[in-house]
Amino acid sequence: MGDPLYADGINQAVILIVLGKLLVVFAFLMVSVLFMVWFERKVISDMQSRIGPDRAGPWGLLQTLADGIKLFFKEDLLPDRADRRVFHLAPYLSIVPAFAAFAVVPFGGTISIAGHRTQMQLADPPVGVLFLLAMSSIAVYGIMLAGWASGSKYPLLGSVRASAQMVSYEAAMSLAVAAAVLSAGSLSTRDIVNSQGVYRWNLWILGVVPFVVYLIAATAETNRPPFDLVEAEQELVGGFHTEYSSISFALFFLAEFMNTVTVSAVAVTLFLGGPNGPHIGFLPDLWPVVWFLGKLLCFLFVYVWFRATLPRFRYDQLMDLGWKKLIPLSLYWLLLIAALRIGRDQGWAWYYVLGGGVAVGAVAWGGLNAALRQGDAVRTAA
């Protein structure tokens, strides 16, 4: 349990190592954001039969950097009716949780630095998963406050949408995460990774459903397409960050992509076995990192793929999907998994449990549908 680094107490070397890890993680995130922006633009242009950025650097690799530098030198505008303090605070509120959440993601095995063994993970609190949820739940502040503080109506609409959307999908996401926690019996991310084998991922153990639910909910949580109603350009002129420019805008941009990376990393941790992978003889400390990055990349690609494929949801569709489909589904699935687990502990035959579970599920599904139909009928009648 816990990082072996702290086993011998805390001394200067330990603090230095922690600071070092902090720097590494920060640098990694920044780089990964740079990469991610480029990657997304490139992949999506491929999918749309376009070329994508190709000017700055080889294959346009430095394009993000160039954009960033350009943004930094732009004028920072403050709308007339804005709430000054909150307006300036919002971007930071947006970026901090995005960064902090990554702290608990294990991205490698255990390595030795200057005689101290330490996990390749910035922190491994015993309630790591809860920490993740906490961070994802406060991520909404940046967006909400940005929209409100702008003192302008489109941003406000965007932020109201954002808060409703993020609170709604958090429930489904938490339930999906709970399934992973249930399977590992621990809230520590490291433990969850360790509970999964090289190929024995939670993805398979839990049935694919929690993973899919997580994937959808996480997409919604990060306000990525097709759930980007928050900034829907066509309706809201860019939503919450309409009035932002310069560094403030850059921070939002950074936070958004950092969130994407973090959420993907969490998905890898929870469902895809994290840095676990087949051992290859040389450089034993490096391979887990490689596996992790590989999985992460796959995941990121999936996100981009989503964006390229799916049209944006309408607002009521968004809420319907969240409340009427994902939450019941993930709740049911969690109960089913729990039932199977109890059945195993009690020595019941799994097929009885499964059969019963399916039967209950069918009844519940039928009931839910009937009720929803009735509700629709009432709504249309009124």
């Binding site: 992949v43 242009s45 491929d46 999918m47 749309q48 039969s49 376009r50 070329i51 190709d54 793929w305 390229a308 494929t309 799916l310």
Partner: protein, 210 residues
């Protein structure tokens, strides 16, 4: 699974052909009736066609044109008429390139070119003044600092679409209702206005009636 089919298609597209090109390196040929930025034309004798009548400004839906006419100095007239366009400004932050100004112009003074690069860095630069709009002594548009010209681009500046009648009636096939222009003279009639399309166009409503 309709949902998933979409994913397949997008994935397939990744390896398909690109429909875009590397713009500044390669430029795609522009369509014939492309509406670019305006130019102010001159007669073949170098006189400006604009007479400062402000019809263009009046008709402009975006209100982006500002014209002020002035009496021609009798000793050195700028235009053939009594008055000339003393000030002529177009705000390209507002212009929607609808071409109504061109239609309104009684003297064919303002036409739209195929120049489209508006990459100015100062809002002030977005207002093109008469000095920038009026064609130069060769009858070509002035090259603005941010315009990326390729060889031949200046050739397509003048809107010779106006050379034939607007209604597309067959009666005007081959006729040029266009005065001469500095550097180009009288333009040849526009291509593609054939009798067949004309007949098809005029037959359609009759068929619908019967």
């Amino acid at each position: 699974m309709g949902y998933l089919d979409g994913f397949r298609i997008t994935l397939k597209q990744m390896w398909g052909d690109r429909v875009t090109n590397v713009y500044p390196d390669e430029k795609r040929p522009k369509p014939d009736r492309f509406h670019g930025r305006h130019v102010l034309n001159r007669y073949e004798d170098g006189m400006e066609k604009c007479i400062g009548c402000e019809l263009c400004a009046g008709v402009c839906p975006a209100r982006c044109i500002y014209v002020r006419g002035a009496d021609n100095p009798p000793d050195e007239p700028v235009s053939p008429g009594e008055r000339f366009g003393f000030v002529y400004e177009i705000n390209y932050l507002r212009c929607i390139h609808c071409d109504l100004c061109v239609e309104a112009c009684p003297t064919e003074a303002i036409t739209e070119s195929k120049l489209f690069e508006f990459s100015f860095t100062d809002r002030q630069d977005a207002i093109y003044t008469k000095a920038e709009l009026v064609v130069d002594d060769d009858g070509n548009p002035q090259k603005l600092p941010w315009e990326d010209w390729r060889p031949g681009d200046e050739q397509h500046t003048s809107a010779w679409v106006r050379a034939t009648a607007p209604s597309g009636s067959a009666a005007y096939e081959g006729r040029v209702g266009w005065s001469g222009e500095l550097g180009f003279g009288v333009r040849a009639p526009e291509k593609g206005q054939t009798a067949e399309t004309d007949r098809a166009a005029s037959a359609a409503p009759r068929k619908a009636k019967s």
